[in-house]
């Protein structure tokens, strides 16, 4: 059966549906908040969605591709291509302002632009000052550059004592 949606696919509608696909690791973020959708191309009935991985080994990428496919299939779009594009490399600069607010409300400190580890010779350098997403205190310290997933570092608040994830700057 050919649905109306499949015969006249509008790009805006596709973007709307992509907004409903969430990041499986951080379900409060949509894949648009995360900034990993590079483009939508429509060629007749074929729809190509290009996504870019956050980290090379991010295990969520396969799930995200499947979730996009399922969301679009449910609306009657059947000719789908999900393309993976690695260049230009993803950066946290592409994360939307709304996404950053959602992250903090969820208990994960959002990335602070311009603080990526760029200089390897700056060993034991000053830690990025990260605000505690729970009590909003600025008195926090880095526990480990490597957290619960590749994209996060582990911090602890010195005031409320809560450990929390920081979505590290990646640019």
């Amino acid at each position: 059966m050919v649905t109306a949606a499949a015969t006249a696919p509008a790009e805006a509608r596709i973007w709307q549906l992509l907004e409903e696909v969430s990041d499986p690791e951080v379900p409060v973020l949509s894949i648009l908040d995360l900034g990993i959708v590079r483009g939508v191309a429509i060629d007749g009935e074929q729809i190509t969605v290009t996504i870019t991985p956050t980290y090379s080994g991010c295990p969520a990428m396969n799930t995200i591709a499947t979730d996009i496919r399922l969301r679009l299939l449910a609306e009657g779009y059947t000719k789908l291509v999900i393309k993976n594009q690695i260049s230009p490399a993803w950066t946290t600069d592409w994360m939307s302002p709304a996404g950053r607010d959602k992250l903090e409300a969820y208990g994960i400190a959002p990335p602070i632009d311009g603080t990526a580890t760029g200089h390897v010779l700056n060993l034991f350098d000053k830690e990025t000052a990260v605000r505690c997403p729970l009590c909003k205190s600025a008195h926090t310290h880095l526990v480990s550059q490597f957290g619960s997933t590749a994209c996060k570092a582990l911090y602890q608040c010195d005031d409320c004592r809560e450990p929390f994830d920081y979505f590290k700057c990646h640019s």
Binding site: P53, S56, G57
Partner: protein, 267 residues
């Protein structure tokens, strides 16, 4: 009049590809995969939880990098093999990783020294590949370099903590460095195949990477109060040409177990 050049066949495997870049991309893939596997062996055994997580994180980054290379290698080869075929269905003699990355984990100091020697090379290699002529390799390198930066910072800081730490940590670091230093030279010693590709401009000139590598090594060892090794760094090599230590066979037995036992298994 010059006699016609005889055909020289150095690689008798049937997987010799038309694209000259194929064996090099495969070598990069094998290197990242084998080190990723070694690091993943730490999972659940790290000295403290945060460092257990760090080791697993770095393993995952390298595994992701290896996948990108294997996918590209499969495409370059163009014989219908997939990334999984290349990772799971080749034997130890077909693997092209340098010997350093297949060396067993040992204690934490041993793992840190192995990682530091690799990261110091990996970071500079990716920097060069990022600006290289092959667009796909450049794209993979651009992506992986962001991650490799964190790796090098982590292993450098641990070199300093262990070297300038307690007598126990220092003694373990010294022992690890004495063993693993002999494997470091293979990373930047081109094989005949690599030399050919370097002449074509397809593979970075390793000699050009050395000044930056040596500067960082000297800086970290000085901070760690550890003297620069004086023995040759190139004593142990052959991995990049398929001559491996006995450790690789055991590693692959575990890594490839499911595919070998249940051919074609998927989930």
């Amino acid at each position: 009049m010059p006699a016609p050049q005889p055909e020289v066949s150095v690689a008798p495997t049937p997987s010799v590809a038309a694209n000259p870049l194929f064996p090099f991309v495969l070598q990069l893939a094998d290197t990242s995969l084998i080190l990723a596997h070694r690091l993943s062996e730490w999972c659940g055994h790290g000295p403290i939880l945060e460092q257990d997580l760090a080791l697993a994180n770095i393993a995952l980054d390298l595994l992701g990098e290896a996948r990108s290379y294997y996918q590209y290698a499969a495409e370059l080869e163009g014989k219908g093999r997939t990334e999984d075929d290349l990772a799971y269905l080749r034997s130890a003699v077909e693997y092209r990783n340098p010997l350093l990355v297949e060396q067993p984990n040992g204690d934490f100091a041993h793992t840190i020294v192995r990682q530091f020697l690799f990261d110091n090379f990996h970071y500079e290699l990716l920097k060069a590949l990022k600006n290289g002529p092959d667009a796909q390799l450049a794209a993979i390198a651009e992506k992986s370099m962001k991650e490799a930066t964190y790796h090098l910072k982590w292993s450098s800081e641990w070199m300093i903590r262990l070297g300038d730490g307690t007598p126990e940590s220092r003694q373990r670091l010294d022992k690890a460095l004495a063993v693993l230093w002999r494997y470091a030279g293979e990373l930047t010693t081109p094989t005949p195949a690599e030399t050919n590709l370097q002449e074509l401009g397809l593979v970075p000139d390793y000699a050009a990477l050395l000044p930056a590598m040596q500067a960082h090594l000297a800086h970290v060892l000085a901070e760690a109060t550890v003297p620069m090794p004086t023995t040759p760094a190139f004593a142990q090599q052959g991995g990049k040409q398929g001559r491996h230590s006995e450790h690789l066979g055991y590693l692959l037995t575990e890594l490839q177990y499911m595919q070998r036992t249940y051919p074609g298994l998927t989930w």
